[in-house]
Every structure is written in C-alpha cells, then in structure tokens.
Amino acid sequence: MANMVNLKIDGKDAKVQEGTNLIDAAETVGVHIPNLCYMKGMKGIGACRLCLVEAEGSKAPLIACNTKVKEGMSILTATDRVVEIRKFVTDLIVSMHPLDCMTCTKAGVCNLQKYAYDFEIKESSFSRKKFGYPTDESNPFLKRDPEYCVLCSRCIRICKAQDTNVLEFSGRGVGAKVVTGNEKSLQESGCTFCGSCIDVCPVNALLEADRWRRGREWEYEKADSVCLSCGSGCSITVSSKDGSIVKINSGAPDGSVERTICAYGRFGFDSLYGDTRVTTPMKRVGSELQETTWDDALKIVADRVKTAGADAAVLSSGALLNEDAALLVKFAEAVKTKNVDSTVSLYSGADAMKSGGTDLEAADLIVLAGIEPSQWKRVLPALDGAVRKKLNNGAKLIVINGAEINIASKAAATLKGDEVKMLMELGQAMISKGVKAPKEMVEALASVNPSDAAMTAADLFMAAKMPVILCAPSLYKASANISLIKGDVVAVPLEANAKGIVAMGMTSGAKKFSDIIASSTKALYVVGEIPVSKRPDTGFLVVQASHMTELATQADVVLPAAPALESQGTIIDWNGRIKKVNRASEPAGGARQNGDIFVAVAEALGSVLKPVKEADVKKAAKAKAKVVFSAFKKDTGHDVDAAALIEETNKTMVNGSRLLWLKELDACSLTS
C-alpha cells in the first residue's frame, strides 16, 4: 500500500496516496480545479494552463495536473492571480470557438461552456478567429469538426495510449489542427472506430455522427449496463431519449484502464431498431413463418418439449444473463432433460470458468498466454486497449503464443511455440533461478530445458511485483501452475457472461454443445445467437432470440427475446466481477426478457420456476476454484477461431446496424 500524504487544499485537510496529482487530490475534498487537457489516469501535460494553482511558500504557480502531492503542502486553487490566468486562457480559446451554444449538441457537457460560464466570458475580448475547416462526415460513426477544437490533445493522447495511433497534430499554436496521417479519412488511417476520442473530447469537435438534433445531455435518461458482444463485457452507460437509445459511452470509472469500449459496444445498438428485429412470436405454417400470439407459441413449444423429454436439448449463447441462465437450468429440469449447454463449452472447460479474478490496475506484468486480444481483429478489443494502456504506462508484457501476434511487438519477452511447452519452460526457468515452487511442479519440470527467451521472461516475472496471467481457457490449468509461484491467473472467455453461465450451473450433464449439434434430437431449444447457421437434425426447433438469426429462419417456432439493452440482470465478467445490466429501454413490441419466457413456457408445461435470489448469484460469483498444481496439459477440444466465434455470435447485430459499413470496409481491406 502506498504511503498517505497529508496536505491542505483551500484550507481543507486532504489525505491522499503518495504520487497523486493535485487535481485528483482536490477532487477528494470536493474542490474542482478547472482543466481542459487533463485526463484522469493519464500523465498531465500542462498544455491548457487552466489548472494553475498557488502553493504557499512557492513563488511561481504550480501546474496541478502534473504536480504530485507533497507532505504538508498547502494549496490555494482560486487566488486572483490564477483565476486571471484561467480567464485569460478561456478568453483566448473562446475567441477561436464558434459561439453557437444554443444549437450545439454538446451543450450541457461542454467544458468550455462551463468555464466560460464560470469565468463570466460572454464574448471574447480578443479578436475573433475563424478557420473555415471542413467537417469530416465521411463515416457513419464519428463526426470531426476541427472548428470547435480547443487543442487539448486529449483525443490524440487516448488514441496513442490504445496504440491505435490514428490522430496527430499538424501545425502549432492557433493554426494547429488534429489530423490523421496525410489528412486521409479515418477509414483510410486504420481507425477502429472505437470512439474513445468521443468520450474524452471536452467540446463539440468529436461527436457521434448521428447526434444532430437527437437530444442533449440533460434530456437523456441514463442506464448503467454492460455490453455483451464479447468476453470483455465492458461497462457501458446508455443514454436514451423518449424510450429509444441515442448513444452509448464507456461506463467504467473515469481514469481506469478499462475505460475503453469498441465500435460494437458503442454503435451496435442500432440493431435494436433494425429490420431483422423479432418482436412477435412466430410459428411455421407450411414453408413459412407466420406471426402468432404468445399463448399459441407457448403452447406449441410446451407440448413439443414435453413430448421430447429427455431427448430434448437446450442450447444457449454465452451472452445470457445470470438470472436468465439460472431459470434456464430450472426450465431444463422441468423438461427433464440433461442436455443443456452453452457456447461456452466450445472454448472452455467448466474449471477454467471458475478461475479467480485479479486487479488489472495494480498489475505491473501481464502475461498473455494463448490469447490474442486485438482491436483490429475485433477480438476482445477492450481488453487489448486496456493491456496496451497499461504497457504505455510502464507495465511489462510477456507473450506466450504459437502464432505471431500483433501485440508481441510490445512485449518484453516473447515465447513463441507450443503454449504448454512454453509455460513449462517459463516455470523451469524460474525454478532454475532459485524460485520456490511446489514439489510436484519441480518434479514435473525437472526434464525441461528452458530457452534463452524463457530465461528472460523468468527474470521479468520474478522482478514483477504483481504479475497477471491472462490465458486462454484451455491453458488455464497450465497457467495456474505458474501462478502458484507468483501472481494471479485469469482465464479469459470469448463471451461476456461465460463465467456467470457456468456459475449458474449451465454445464451439460449429458451431451455437450457440439454433440447436440451433431446428433439427432427430438426438440432443440436455442437461446440467443449461437455459431450455428444450419438447422441441426431435430424434430422441432425453437429459436428464442432478439433478431432473425439464420437459424431462426429455419425454426419451427421463434420467440422474440429482449436483447441485453432491454433486459435487467447481472453478469459475471471475465475478471469474476458481478456487473449489473440495467434496462435501458423497454422491450420492443411483444419481446420479453429471456427469463420471463422460460417461466412462461414452464407454466405452460405445468411447472413453476422460481427466480434466482440476488444473494445466490453473489455466492456463485464468489465460489472460485482453488488453484492447485495439476499436470501441464492443454484442455483438448476447446480450440476455436476466436474472431470467427465472435463474428458469428454478433452477426445480426453487425448486419442490422451501421456496423455493417465497417464490416464491408474490412472486407475491402482498406483498413489493413
């Protein structure tokens, strides 16, 4: 634990951790130090000079964003001297900023507007400067209007922190402008459209492309939710107006490394209003699906699954909420089938999904074993962003992978080859350097001869205070062995609630996912979007989904489910944390939340399903597998193409939203 430092801010006593800067320190006692360029969690650059404060005993003013607290220091944040400087800079910026707050989309959340108000700057006292820069509206995601730019460079720095490196400055001073390399369009500059720059822009220079006249900040209803598109399970904040969602921002705490979301999470919500949305139950009449009533659909489904009994099977995607998953398990019991499984079994065993969590913020060494998070391949992009932010902040990286992966260029050590073998080499290298390890492990590794790279990696691992191994679920056991020496191990799933689904007991007691698909069943109940596009051999197919998936078009009954944004519940994310999913808008049309549908079908079967208690979910999330030594082996049968699986499980979302533009762009390989 870092030492605490005592200081006085505007006469208030503050006690903060050593190494905190003055802006963050002031925040703890409720004092806001104005700033335009500071970003929490990142190094202050002292460009805007709004954060100047005076310290007793110091002649020159201090830059609050990059001055660290010192014991006994006494800060005054609003003396005449510094307020004059703030007024001066704000005045200068206002002189080159359009004065159209009355129609500006960012009104209400614009920092410049706030400071102009605070400093009573109605109109600039300096000469008006106008540049006539064109607005970049060439993509459906981001609108860039340099006319509004206050040159704070936040967007440039966040883009660099994530290693996307699309934005940069051209020119200096008044004539400076945020541009892409060679002033090309974003799509030609390798932009992933994650929109992190939108989240950090203090003014109207960067904005979601479709925000014009769709409401302003104070008109929105906000809901904290989670994006269920991939294993990152990012926290999001959903803003909606008049019942429909307008925008999504990152919901992670300001300053945390996980404050990154991707294009899917930010812009995929369009699909809620897309053509392929299912809002009424449908049944097959002859060769086509026809709309029907809930009662009719429920009766048909109940009859057929009842007849099938133990020969029925239930399959779900890994994006099912905990509460819904618990109900689905009970539903399967009511049907009396043991064939209930999820896509999780495609890439993970049950043990790996019970792996513990870690504190990514505190980690100073990250080991990526057998996984390749990538913002460009759209595989766990937010995790990739978080890891890269950590690396750019001084953390080290060891990559253990059989293939050449992009992030390896940032690694301090790369162990290329069979992952299990490399983990063994790493273990043995550390043992040979005199690290204490369990006896069984020493014996098991005695014959291993570590390579030079493994020796380097071992040095790094031993030097690290808090190493974290992020591994593919199939490598969990082998990676966990290393964590017996030091640090944490986390198996990273490909779907958001994989850990929750397993914790809720949704692991098959009989046939696994792939067996169910491959074999013949009397009735198959599919929940969500699963990576199966051809109807498996089954007597009766129910698809319960929010959108018309390819499988749904071949179903006998389609039940309209509410997508996550219209559902209420929790998930257990990759890091073992419970995250709350709050309903951001009411289910469209006749759609119902997954759990409610299970209850309704069960009722038609004559059973009553009791919803799971909140305490039980918490208990399940806490129940972690104890890390014990096991043989260095890879779990077989869990090799999947991560990118393909994530693409398959998000197909309707991508195809039903503006993300389709991005997909087609990728296909043109303009972004490569």
Binding site: C48, I85, L92, M96, R172
Partner: protein, 199 residues
C-alpha cells in the same frame, strides 16, 4: 520517430535569432511586431495555450497599431497578454517574449502611435512619401527603384519643355523606402501623416 528526426536537422531559429532579426528596427511597435512574427515562425513550440494563442493575439493587436487603426483597447490587450504570458507560460521562450513586450510597453511608443505619431517614421501607416519639386532634377532614378510603380513623372530630355513632374502615387505606395537611397539629390522626404485605415 519524427521528434528525434527533427532534432537532428539543421539547428532551428532560437530566441537569439529572433532578437538579431529585430536589432536594427528603431520603432518599438515595429520592433515588437517583428519580434512576435519571428517568434511565431519558429521558436514557439505550441505546447501550452497562453503562449501559443496569446502571442498570436498579440500579433493581431500589434498589426492593428502599426497600421494605424488601433484603440486604447489594443494596447490594454497586449498588456494583459504579456502579463499573463509571463505568469503562465510553460517555458522561458514564452516568458522572454512576454518580457520583451512588457519592456516595449514601458516606452512612449505605444501611446504616441495611438496619438497618430510614429517617431521613427517606420510604421508605414503613419507616414507619407513626397517628392520635393524644388529639389527634384527629373532624373527618373526613383522611378526605376520603385518596385510598385508608384512614382509617376517624365524624365528630363534636353530639348523639351513642359514635363510631367515626378510625384508619388499614394494609392500605390507601400512605403517600402526603396526610393530614398535611389535619389542622389535628397528630393524625397518622409512626412508624418496618419492616413486613414488601409484595411
């Protein structure tokens, strides 16, 4: 990458070069304007707002003064910019510029300019060029020297009478001063006369 490459390039202008560039200018307004222009052209790094935006604004105001359209407000603005730049600029370059402006503001030059006088006759807007007919020998040398074709008149030819006298066409004259050394007879004078705004 680019940053390290920049450092290896030929040495850039620094504050010394800026000072050298303004050495021979006598009028404090002209001197300040040139100083800020030079500062903005190279040494200004643009890494902090008060200096990057402030010195640009100072230049705008100095140009207003040197072109004779300034008010007391412009001088007050420069004073404020210089004061705040000195206080809040990140590096010595911005502070030096601020100090230069503050020293310039201490002289009489600014208030004189507001009153319509440029003592050193260096601010174009405050002077008029005139050819003294009594001294002019109609040699035409000034006409040749003028790049702007602002001098009209007929060169003396021995057998003719009734010449068109040499005169400065004020509309074309940019007050560059090139004609002054061209006249060997001292027939061109610069008189103080504030003309109405050119802008």
């Amino acid at each position: 990458m680019s940053e390290t490459a920049d450092k290896e390039e030929a040495p850039k202008k620094d504050m010394k070069d800026v000072l050298a560039a303004v050495e021979n200018i006598k009028c404090m307004v002209q001197k300040s304007q040139k100083f800020v222009e030079e500062f903005l052209s190279e040494p200004m790094c643009g890494k902090c707002h008060p200096c990057a935006l402030g010195s640009y604004e100072a230049l705008v105001r100095l140009k207003r003064i040197s072109s004779g359209i300034a008010t007391q407000g412009d001088v007050a603005a420069i004073q404020r910019i210089a004061d705040d730049m000195l206080e809040s600029s990140r590096c010595i370059k911005g502070k030096d510029t601020a100090k230069f402006l503050l020293n310039a503001l201490k002289t009489e030059a600014f208030s004189q300019h507001l009153g319509g006088h440029c003592e050193e006759h260096e601010c174009p807007a405050y002077v008029t060029y005139r050819i003294i007919p009594e001294k002019c020998v109609l040699c035409g040398d000034c006409q040749k020297a003028c790049r702007y074709n602002a001098i009209q008149g007929e060169k003396k030819v021995s057998y003719r009478t009734g010449y068109l006298p040499f005169e400065v066409r004020q509309k074309r004259c940019v007050k560059c001063g090139d004609c002054l050394p061209a006249c060997s007879y001292g027939a061109i004078e610069v008189i103080e006369e504030k003309i109405e705004a050119l802008v």
